[in-house]
């Protein structure tokens, strides 16, 4: 009996909040596996949430491996920046470079970040409000870098919200798009004019963008620089093996560490609070207003354009690549099977990636 008590004595340290976190971890794992929602991140986050919420867990604490990984890669923002190299190597800027005006939609779709900043500042300190607002960037690495740089108290909730909502884009966006557009607007066709983009343009674009964004928002140099470095590796044509490695091995490796380390911020006493619920709500507001911002910008532009644009492509301006572009394309096909919006939507989606990083740099400039 004494031996049994010694073996299972740790159960006395268990509390209901830990069990609640196990269930939340289980839900994230379920969404990742059964519903295929961002499994690369939700599964490690879900499992990590269980790991760190076991009583007297050896995974966290002063010498815990998750604490060590957190200090090594998230506290200094290294993991998300390295992941950006992989993301940059995956992105093809061709559709955007063939029609650069599409970048305006990516810029407009960042409105949700600043709207959420104003809303969140009613409840949180400015630095925390800014960290919460960046969920609207719909970009995990940017959210982590900004929240960490601003030393937010709510990094765990922000990370979970950012990645969860990125996975929920196909569910969040369509109702917002339908609410803000008429049937006639959704039927507007946008014939794609293929313009060949030279290799020189594709090579110079990441370099020039880094210089311009870096001068305007110096705090964004790391974010934009690593993203564009990855893209330069892809486009230069002489580093195919590095490009392959960055896109696959590097991205997957960092994703594994990032996912499970994020969970170290999901300890029950830190995570289960009214503030976390509010952050999840504000994150949703950010995504919805982002989508709305892009669509409304397109509708305003149409007032002045002879060849109208389908306002749905404005919704693709959030950084959730490539999901947002695919959502818009699918909605276009559903309305009119002959209306192919994929290239334009992809171009806008890619521009959203760039604009979200610039927005992150702006936020760091203002509050860093």
């Amino acid at each position: 009996m004494q031996a049994l008590l010694e073996v299972f004595g740790n159960i006395a340290n268990l509390d209901l909040k830990m069990v609640a976190m196990w269930i939340i971890g289980g839900i994230l794992i379920y969404l990742a596996i059964k519903k295929d929602m961002e499994p690369t991140l939700l599964l490690p986050i879900g499992f990590g949430a269980i790991l760190v919420n076991l009583p007297l867990s050896g995974a966290v604490g002063e010498h815990g491996p998750l604490t060590t990984l957190y200090n090594a890669g998230i506290a200094n923002e290294l993991f998300p920046l390295i992941l950006f190299i992989g993301i940059g190597a995956m992105i093809d800027f061709g559709p955007l470079l063939s029609n650069p005006k599409l970048m305006l939609f990516g810029a407009a779709a960042q409105f949700g970040i600043f709207f959420t900043l104003c809303t969140a500042s009613m409840f949180f300190a400015d630095k925390d409000a800014a960290s919460i607002a960046i969920i609207g960037a719909a970009d995990g690495p940017t959210s982590i870098v900004v929240a960490q740089a601003l030393d937010s108290n709510y990094i765990g909730a922000i990370m979970v919200a950012a990645y969860s909502y990125m996975a929920l884009v196909p569910i969040i966006q369509p109702p917002v798009i339908k609410l803000l557009t008429t049937k006639k607007e959704r039927l507007i066709r946008m014939p794609y004019v293929q313009r060949e983009v030279s290799q020189t343009t594709k090579i110079l674009f990441p370099i020039i963008l880094t210089i311009v964004a870096g001068i305007v928002a110096p705090d964004s140099v790391a974010l934009i620089g690593f993203l564009m470095f990855g893209n330069l590796i892809r486009e230069c044509g002489v580093l195919n093996s590095l490009s392959e490695t960055a896109q696959k091995v590097l991205a997957n490796l960092v994703t594994i560490f990032l996912g499970i380390t994020i969970a170290s911020q999901m300890q029950a006493d830190k995570f289960l609070s009214p503030a976390t619920l509010l952050i999840l709500g504000l994150g949703l507001v950010a995504f919805v207003v982002d989508t709305a911002g892009g669509i409304i910008f397109a509708k305003v532009l149409n007032l002045f354009l002879k060849n109208k644009m389908n306002p749905m492509i404005g919704a693709a301006g959030i950084s959730a690549f490539p999901m947002a572009g695919r959502v818009v394309h699918k909605m276009g096909i559903k309305e009119d099977p002959q209306n192919f919006l994929l290239m334009q939507a992809t171009g806008v989606n890619v521009s959203g990636q760039i604009a979200s990083v610039i927005a992150g740099g702006m936020i760091l400039n203002f509050f860093g």
Partner: protein, 108 residues
């Protein structure tokens, strides 16, 4: 439809767990305050009847969520500057891209 319903169900369940956790946190804090009061001297008991504010909010997520509408007006200028900055950068990039395309590109 089934997928949306199951995802919504999962989210509602998560929110319920959060609410439960927040309620449990609140109850634990009330109990903690009661235990602390009973162990203090008379003068300390009077002082400890005021809610304790933890300095390090990272260790204790029982942070007061004060409603402060002035935050909106305070941050409106950042909204304006931020959007202006993003459009300015994007505008310059569009211009440079047009120049690059016209110098090096071909149209089919």
């Amino acid at each position: 439809m089934k997928k949306i319903l199951s995802v919504l169900f999962a989210l509602i369940l998560s929110f319920s767990l959060f609410s439960f956790g927040a309620f449990a946190e609140g109850s634990a804090n009330i109990e903690t305050t009661v235990v602390e009061e009973s162990s203090e001297t008379v003068s300390s008991e009077i002082e400890s009847s005021e809610p304790e504010k933890k300095e390090d909010a990272k260790d204790d997520m029982d942070v007061d969520l004060d409603f402060n509408p002035s935050g909106v007006t305070r941050n409106l200028k950042y909204m304006g500057l931020g959007m202006l900055g993003i459009f300015a950068v994007v505008g310059v990039v569009i211009l440079i891209t047009f120049i690059l395309n016209s110098v090096t590109g071909k149209k089919k």
